[in-house]
Symmetry: C2
Subunit: 323 residues, 2 copies
C-alpha cells in the first residue's frame, strides 16, 4: 500500500450500499488505478457473502436475455442483484443494437439492482482482474446474488468462470458446429446446462445430445476407475425471451448451490476463486512493474525496430530487460 | 540463455525444412519448455520472410473451410504453406466433428504444407506466445505463406491477429446479433472482409451492411478532421465450401499486401508484431519467475485458504510475494 492508504470515506459509503461510490471504484478498477487495489483490500473482508453465478455460452445463445429474465425473479424473492457483463457482444457493453440496450436499462431505476459492463481490451488478464474486483465491490455493497455474463471463449473469459460458485452454460438448438465447441471446452465448466430458445426446432434433440454426452462422461469416469463420479449436471429447456423456463433455471441453480454446500464443493470453489483473484492481482502488479522498467529505459521503440528487423530476437531482449 | 544453448542440430534441420524437427520444436513451444526459447532465438534472424495472414471471425463462420480452400490455390502458384489453427472450435483442434477433421487431413501428405493446431489453455497469454513461436518455426522451415486461423473473441485471440500482415475477417449472412459483435470489435482489425456462405439468404444484405459501416467509419474520420483516411477494406462474397470466391479472396489479400508494401504499412505491421512477440516473451519469463518464487515458499495452498476465508486479501498477498 502507498502512504495514502485506502479512501476511508469511499469504503464506508460502499459498505453502506452507496451505488455512486461503488460505481466510482468500479471505474478505477477498470482503469487499473493503484488506489483501487487499496480500497479493494479494505473491502475484501466484507465481500465474501454474495452467491456468484456465471452465465456463459457462445455468442447468440441469449445470455443477456437470460440475465434479464432472472433479475425480476431474484428481486421478487428479496435478493439484491449485481450484474457484471463481460461479453463484448453483450447489450450491456458497447457492441449491441439499441433495442436490446434500452430493454436492459429498465432495471436501472431499481436500486436493488446494479449492472456494470466490462469490455477491457488491451491488457491481457485485465478482464478477469477487473471482473474479480467488480464482484467484490458489488458484494461489499450488499448484493446477495451476483450474475457474471461472459462469452466463454478465450482464456481470459474462461478465467472469469473461475470466480463463480455455480456456472450456467447456455446452449441453443441448431448451433451446428458450435455444439461441438460446447462439447470441447465450455461444457467442462458447466454446473447447469440450459438449452435456450427451446421454441425452435431441434431443442429436444440438443438437450438429448447434451444429456448423452454427460452420461458418456460419467461412464468414461467409471470405467477409468474414478473414485468419485462427475457431479450431476441438470439439463433444462427454456425460452428466456418468452419467460418460459426461467423459474426452472433458477431452481436448478439453487439446487446446485445447496448440493455444493452439503458436499463441501462450495469451499473448493471459494479456494478456486481465491486462486484466480491472487493470480490476477499478481499479474497486474507484474505488468505495472514492467511498464515502469520500460519507461525508465526510455520506452521500447528503438528495441522494437531492432526486433522487427530481426537484428535481435525477442527472447534475448526479454531476458535482458528482466535481468 | 542457459549453458546448454540452442540445439544446433535441430536448428539446422528446421532451416533445411525438416518437418519432423519443426514439429518437435512446436511441441516444446506449446509445453513452454525453456529450451524452446533458445532454439527460437537462433531461428529468429531467418524467420522474417514469410507473409502472415490472419483468418478470423466468430464460431460457425466457416474459417476452417476458407483455410482449407486457400491451401490448394497457394500450393498451385508455388507457395509453401504453414497453418496455425488457434480456434478451439476448429476441426484442426480437439473439438470438432470427425468428418471435418478427416477432410483437413488430405493436406497432410503434401510436404509443401504444414498444419499445427494450438489450443493452449491454462496459462494466460500462452496462446499468443505459442502462436508467435510456431509462426517463426514455420517461417524458418521455408513456408512462404502462413495462415493463422483464430476465433477472434477474447484478448488472447485478438492478440494473435497482431502477428498478421493481413487480417481477413469472415462474416456470414443471418448472424443476427453476431453482426453487431463484428461491428463492435473484430471489424476494427479487418483488412479484408469476406461474407462466407454467400449462397444463403441475406448475403448481399450483410455485405451491403458491412460496406455501409465502412463508409460511415470513413465519414466519421473525415468529419473529425483526420489527416489520413482509414485504409480501404474490400468486402467480398464467397462460398468456400463450394469453392466459389476463394480466388477473389486471395486476390484481395494480395492487393492488400502490395498496397501495404507500397504505403509503408507493412513496416508498421512488423513493428506491431515485434511488440506482440516481445510482450509475449516478457510475460512468459515473468510467469516462470513467479512460479519459481511460489515453489520456493512451499506453494500457495495455505495462503489461498487464508484468502478464501477473507482473513487476508489477494492485493496485499500479491504485494508481499513480489517484495
Amino acid at each position: 500500500m502507498s502512504a495514502a492508504g485506502p479512501s476511508a470515506v469511499r469504503v464506508a459509503r460502499i459498505l453502506a450500499g452507496d451505488a455512486r461510490a461503488g460505481a466510482a471504484l468500479m471505474r478505477d478498477i477498470d482503469d487499473g488505478a493503484v488506489s483501487a487495489a487499496e480500497d479493494l483490500a479494505a473491502l475484501y473482508p466484507h465481500a465474501g457473502q454474495a452467491f456468484v453465478v456465471g452465465i456463459t455460452g457462445p455468442p447468440g445463445a441469449g445470455k443477456s436475455t437470460v440475465v434479464d429474465a432472472l433479475i425480476p425473479l431474484l428481486r421478487a424473492r428479496g435478493d439484491q442483484v449485481g450484474v457484471v457483463a463481460v461479453d463484448p457482444s453483450s447489450p450491456f457493453s458497447g457492441g449491441a443494437i439499441l433495442g436490446d440496450r434500452i430493454r436492459m436499462q429498465r432495471h436501472a431505476p431499481d436500486d436493488g439492482t446494479f449492472i456494470r459492463s466490462l469490455a477491457t481490451r488491451g491488457e491481457l488478464g485485465g478482464l478477469s482482474r477487473a471482473t474479480a474486483g467488480v464482484v467484490n465491490v458489488l458484494a461489499a455493497m450488499g448484493k446477495g446474488v451476483i450474475l457474471i455474463e461472459t462469452v466463454g471463449v478465450g482464456q481470459d473469459e474462461i478465467d472469469v468462470a473461475a470466480l463463480a460458485d455455480t456456472v450456467v452454460v447456455i446452449a441453443v438448438p441448431g448451433m451446428g458446429d458450435d455444439v461441438q465447441t460446447l462439447k470441447a471446452g465450455i461444457l467442462e465448466v458447466a454446473d447447469v446446462l440450459a438449452v435456450n430458445k427451446a421454441d425452435r426446432d431441434g431443442a429436444q434433440l440438443t438437450a438429448r445430445d447434451l444429456e448423452a454426452m454427460l452420461a458418456l462422461r460419467a461412464e468414461v469416469a467409471r470405467s477409468a476407475g474414478a473414485a468419485v463420479a462427475p457431479p450431476p449436471v441438470e439439463v433444462i429447456l427454456m425460452s428466456a425471451g418468452r419467460g418460459d423456463g426461467v423459474d426452472e433455471l433458477l431452481a436448478a441453480v439453487d439446487r446446485h448451490r445447496h448440493r455444493q454446500i452439503a458436499t463441501g464443493g462450495f469451499a473448493a470453489r471459494r479456494l478456486r476463486r481465491a486462486d484466480a483473484e491472487l493470480r490476477a492481482a499478481l499479474g497486474h502488479r507484474l505488468r505495472v512493474a514492467l511498464d515502469q522498467r520500460l519507461a525508465a529505459i526510455g520506452g521500447l521503440s528503438a528495441l522494437l525496430a531492432d526486433v522487427a528487423a530481426r537484428r535481435v530476437d525477442p527472447y534475448s531482449v526479454a531476458d535482458a530487460l528482466l535481468r
